[in-house]
Symmetry: C2
Subunit: 167 residues, 2 copies
Amino acid sequence: MAEARPCSIADALAIVGEKYSLLVLREVFFGVRRFEAMVRNIGAPRDILAARLRRLVEAGVLEKVAYSRRPLRHEYRPTAAGLELQGVLHLLRQWGDRHLTGTPPVVFDHACGAPLEAVVTCASCGRPVEPGSQTAHFQVEGWGMGGRRPADETAEAQSSPSQAVLG
Amino acid sequence: MAEARPCSIADALAIVGEKYSLLVLREVFFGVRRFEAMVRNIGAPRDILAARLRRLVEAGVLEKVAYSRRPLRHEYRPTAAGLELQGVLHLLRQWGDRHLTGTPPVVFDHACGAPLEAVVTCASCGRPVEPGSQTAHFQVEGWGMGGRRPADETAEAQSSPSQAVLG
């Protein structure tokens, strides 16, 4: 297999993109931090969930903390890096609410008192980040918008600009 | 396996949470819309990528459009529902940039001219959605913050409020 596009999304998904990983984070954010309750609420096989938890702890997304010494019992708490992923879950939840689910199973209020509708905005101007409002600058030599350069057989790859507006 | 928590995140991940699915969206947003180029840029097995594309088309995230009739050739374009997922990719990219990747492989400018830092804000008050600023209201009878009620063996499940602030 040839080398894939260098990409922080792919790197992030290698940590949190496995099946059940983001659902583990959902439970942790809901305050469910013990293995048995996670198994029950997520509906995942125990061995797979245990592997996901190990991976998330190794990657610094969760912290495994003993809450009892005799018998020894652990719970999982989100790290600061883990908490940063709350936004991803809000966006996926809203997308599911809009396009897939009948009645939203969970709704949120924001601290301001309004029903929470999470929007992705630009930290600088405060306006929404919408299709057509973003220009990508590709930093890795040889990898442009269309993929690897110098190009091979496709017209797409032949014109692989290192800068372009996202559609 | 017992019934899992009713959840729009889980529903969304059933569509876009399989390995490679979000990388397909990344390529489509970069303007890479043909199968061969996606295989090359994602580094995914052809049969798996073909299955992911079918699923994304069935779910209404991508549209499969013929761009040539003789020979018959197709490309994949994002639907409006697909474009809504750009924010998820920005957040994952930034998280990877911050925590995993050395030099960001791609950086973005926003239309306002500033380097793009995407933040999740409340549509009503415009302030960031941060840990501790969100109250969840659980809508499905029997499923609260801690999981299913009436509770079983764990203390967590025994107190499963239908409303709580997200940590």
